[in-house]
Every structure is written in C-alpha cells, then in structure tokens.
Amino acid sequence: MDLITLAEVTGSLSAVGYGLAAIGPGVGVGIIFGKAIEATARQPELGGRIQTLMWLGFGLVEFLALLGFIAGFIFR
C-alpha cells in the first residue's frame, strides 16, 4: 500500500448509499406512526381521521426510501 491509498473500499458503494438514504425515511415513518398513536390516545374519537392522515403521510415518506430501491435498477 502506498501513501496515497490509505483506505480502499471494494464492493458496491451503492449498497452503503442505499443504507444511508434509508435512514431518513426510517426516522420519518417512525415519527408518523408514533405521532398517530399519540394523537389517537389524546383524541380517541378522531381515530379514523388520524389513521387516514397517517397512511397518507406514510405513503409519501416511504416513497423516498423506495426511490432508492428503484435507483438500483436505473443507475447501474
């Protein structure tokens, strides 16, 4: 090993990239479900409405993680 190459990475960096990219949506989905549970506990009579909004937000946030999956097919 010469001085220039101090660290070398072999294998697919895109897998690491996808792992990093999945952190954001992971946190987001957690917040959405947690807040929905909290809100339902505070206002149980609004449960149906809250659940609708929860699924809507979940769909949007999870799409970000799924874009990473699709990127694997597109940018090879």
Binding site: Q51, F63, F69, I70
Partner: protein
C-alpha cells in the same frame, strides 16, 4: 447475517468454492413454455395464472355452497371479507360512501394477498407480484377509480383547483405548491403503490434466496469449520420465510388501505 456470510466467503481460509451471492440480474426465472413466441411464459406468469384459477375456484365453490349457518371454512372466508369491509373500507371512508368500493377493495386485498403468499408456497416459490407489471395494474385500477370519483363528485376543474390551489396559502407559494401537487396526484400516488408492493416482494425473495444460498455453500460446498454458519443461515431462511408470510398480508393491507385513502380524498371533505 448475509454480510457475515459474504465476509466469510471472500476472506475465509482456503474455501472449496467461491460463495455465489444471488444477484438481481438472475432474479427472473427462465421462460418455460411457448419460449420464443410472444406468449412466452416464465414461472411468475404461470404462478399468476394458476393462483387466479385456484382463487376463482375456491371462492366460487365457497359462494355457491354458502349456507345460512356457515361451516368452518365459510366462516373463515366471511371473517376475511368482513375484515376488509369493516376494518379497511368503512374505517377509512365510512359506511355510506364506502359501500360501492367494498367489492373493489376486497378484490384488491384478496388478490394481492394470495399472489404474495405464492412466494412461500413450495414449487411456486415466487410471489406473483414480483415483477412490476402486476402491482402496476393494481395501482392503475386505484388511479382510475380515484380520478373517476373526483370527476363524479366534484367535477374535474373543481377537483384540480382544490388539489393544486388549496385555499389559505399565500399566492407566491402556489408556484411551488401547484406542480408538486400535480406530480403527487398524477404520478407519485400510483407509482408509490406499485413500487412499494413490487420492492417488498423482490427484496423478500432475495433475502430468502440469500439465506439458502449461504446454507448450501456452508454446509455442502465448503468442508471446513464454517458449517455452524450454515445451520445459522438455514434457521435464518426459515425465519425469513415466515416473515415473508407476514409481509404478504401486511402489504395487501397497506395497499388496500392506501387505495381507500386515495379514493376518499377525491370526495368532498365531510363537514
């Protein structure tokens, strides 16, 4: 676990054979009948056709032999249908509005669940939703339904105005908001439905394949101290198969619920 397997495969001591990690390029099974014609079918298409036929037969026979006092099997089917009706459709849309969508959502839910469960049935071993076309078809169905509902209940222009230019927003914000909302209702909603189902099925299949490929490698191909890992990955394969069964039902539920939510958004806000 897979990471450990790969690490051992590349750095382990004097392994008999190179560990072959299943790749995404090898995902599609080869064509088995009518190869070379436009009707060429691989295993996934076969699974689709057989699953559809079996489903139609089973539910058709159940419906034809339905009795006033349900037996055990009829009770189970009725429980499933009532779950979709009460816990998915009526929960999101309410009984009045949801009534006309119960058949559609029930069809979506049951079809997606049976197709997904094909992934863990021996000799099928592949979810029928594991290529993009089938989830896309379901998503397009939902897409058509929520646009139809919007045009019927609000009118096309009123719907677009409400979605693209919602009230109570400062006017300059519309420049950003309107295109985003347009992309959302035209592209992101159906695309996310389809991609979510597809991605879950592909990923699940690959994980199970990886576990069993590692087992094959550790237990059979390489004769050294690594056999313990083979037992571990074998157990992992079975656990992942069970997890796949759970994911199959969960994805069907999420798809059906989100379809209801999207259709419900096309209706006027209830006072």
């Amino acid at each position: 676990m897979a990471g450990v397997a790969e690490l051992m495969g590349t750095t382990g001591v004097a392994l008999a054979a190179e560990f072959h990690v299943p790749q995404i390029d090898e995902f599609l099974p080869p064509e088995i009948i009518f190869a070379g014609t436009p009707f060429a079918m691989n295993r996934i298409v076969m699974v689709r056709l057989i699953a559809t036929a079996v489903m139609l037969l089973v539910f058709g026979i159940t419906a034809a032999r339905a009795k006033l006092i349900p037996g055990r099997w009829q009770g189970a089917v009725e429980w499933l249908i009532e779950f979709v009706q009460n816990n998915i459709v009526y929960e999101v849309m309410g009984e009045l509005r949801g009534k006309r969508y119960v058949p559609m959502i029930t069809t979506l839910f049951l079809t997606i669940m049976v197709f997904n469960l094909c992934g863990i049935i021996p000799f099928a071993n592949m979810s029928a939703n594991a290529t993009f076309v089938m989830p896309l078809l379901f998503a397009v169905w939902t897409f058509v339904q929520y646009w139809r509902a919007a045009i019927r209940e609000k009118g096309l222009l009123a719907y677009l105005k409400e979605e693209l230019l919602p009230e109570g927003v400062p006017i300059p914000v519309y420049i950003i908001l309107a295109p985003m909302q347009l992309i959302d209702i035209v592209l992101i909603r159906p695309a996310s439905l389809a991609i979510r189902l597809f991605a879950n099925m592909v990923a699940g299949h690959l994980i199970v394949a990886l576990c069993f490929a590692a087992t094959q490698f550790f237990l059979i191909e390489s004769h050294n101290m690594m056999a313990g890992f083979g037992v571990l990955t074998l157990a992992g394969g079975f656990i992942m198969t069970l997890f796949e069964a759970f994911v199959a039902a969960l994805q069907a539920f999420i798809f059906a619920t989100l379809s209801c939510v999207y259709i419900n958004l096309s209706y006027p806000e209830e006072a």
